[in-house]
Amino acid sequence: MAGSTDPERDALFERLFREFQGVMVNYLYRLTGDAAQAEELAQDVFVRAYQALPRLKEGSNYRAWLYRIATHTAYDALRRKRLVHFLPLEAHDAAPAAPSDVRDAVQEALLRLPPEYRVPLVLYSVQGYSTAEIAEMLGISIGAVKTRLYRAREAFRRIYQGDEGDGV
């Protein structure tokens, strides 16, 4: 094989790739709001994962590890390309353009959250993970996750309420 001489590594990577490819693309799509960019970033995630796989300790939580790579990849991309759609909450008094439908409004509100709030909210409410799992994925304490989640919910509520006039 080209470059790699470790069949076990290849087999493990293949398993992870098959299991998480769709999940990762969806996660990154929720963070970026751009399907094409999500696919590009998901490629980066799996390339990084393959390169880092030999350094991963046996018995590691592969899912948490992949999510950590994906989250950092998304942060980097959002910073680098200035694609953070976040608008300061205080500056959001002006009436926004009416979204075409509820899903657009929800995604738009999500993109207006700061990434550090967007990530735990997506992991908790979209992907369905527990705060303990999210803490492991992000490498932060459970308490920090709960705080960010609470702030994310309140921020989302204000943003979406502003868009829709509907309390969420």
Binding site: M1, A2, G3, S4, P7, D10, A11, F13, E14, F17, R18, E19, F20, Q21, G22, V23, V25, N26, Y27, Y29, R30, A35, A38, E39, A42, Q43, F46, V47, Y50, Q51, R63, V102, R103, V106, Q107, L110, L121, V122, Y124, S125, V126, Q127, G128, Y129, S130, T131, K146, T147, L149, Y150, R153, F156, R157, Y160, G167, V168
Partner: protein, 334 residues
Amino acid sequence: MVCKRFQRELAHYRELAPAQRQALDEHLRTCAHCRRALAAYARQDALLGGLAPVQPSPEWARRVRERLSAQGERPKAAHPAWARAWALALLAALLLFGSTLAVSANALPGQPLYALKRTQEELRLRLLAEGTPRAEYAQTLAERRREEAKRLIQKGGTAELAFEGPVEAMQGAWWRVGGVEVQVMGTVRPDPLPALGERVSLRVRIQGGHAVALAVFRAAPSPTPNGGGPQPTLTQEAPSATARPSEATPTPRREGQMPSRALPPAPSITPAPSALPTFVPPGQQKKALQPTPPVPTPTAPAGEGQTPSSPGGKGPTESKRPTEAPGGAPRGRP
């Protein structure tokens, strides 16, 4: 303010321990503000959980593999180690016959190099990444089988081979399938008869400038670049120029086809000529047909004509999210 105590807990209500939840529920009975917050969070979960998942495009997985391959990290397609070793060994052997391979590209069934040609095709098919590339190549192979049949008929060669294609015309015993004119006797016709345009899979004996069907089946749906469709029969045909139909390898059963069974008596088919595309059966152009040889009962030998594993498989989807009561049970996850 007493609410302050509960605010953070409301945000992750679904995973509270029973004692915490009981205390919070008691508070909720008397606090409209917190009840509104909990209801709002529950609606958030419903809205966010209701976002439609996106599926990676069919090309995406291939691009990932290509990128890894380009960086010298991985092979273009992942296979078990033993499969790669097997493939490499075969490749090495085939390389020794490089020039022979080039010559074999034009080989027809019954010719010495035809087996090499088919082996090369099968190897290439197996090495292609699942999904679009494999499905496209499978289509190419299906077309190649039909071309071989046409060339054999033109050359007056003798061989048995299998191919599939759409039924383009039916006039009595003469059918045109994927551009190949075939004599289909009543004993081998599927019951009910395929409609015009429907894909059928045939095993034919070509001799004396015309093809006689030994077995006809309805084919599985046409392969598509997105995968999932059938692959062409990849088994080696009986190359013997003297093989009798009764000695022929039976036509394999493929996914989506009817199971092997005794063939029904020939149905009477006399389609209205006006409803059919017109073509002149070769028997009317050339000569009377040879007596139809006995027809073998088609069975499904193991490993023959099997469809390779589903290209790309079923991509993992986003979390399964069962409907959740406000602040209720955790959702599913990948």
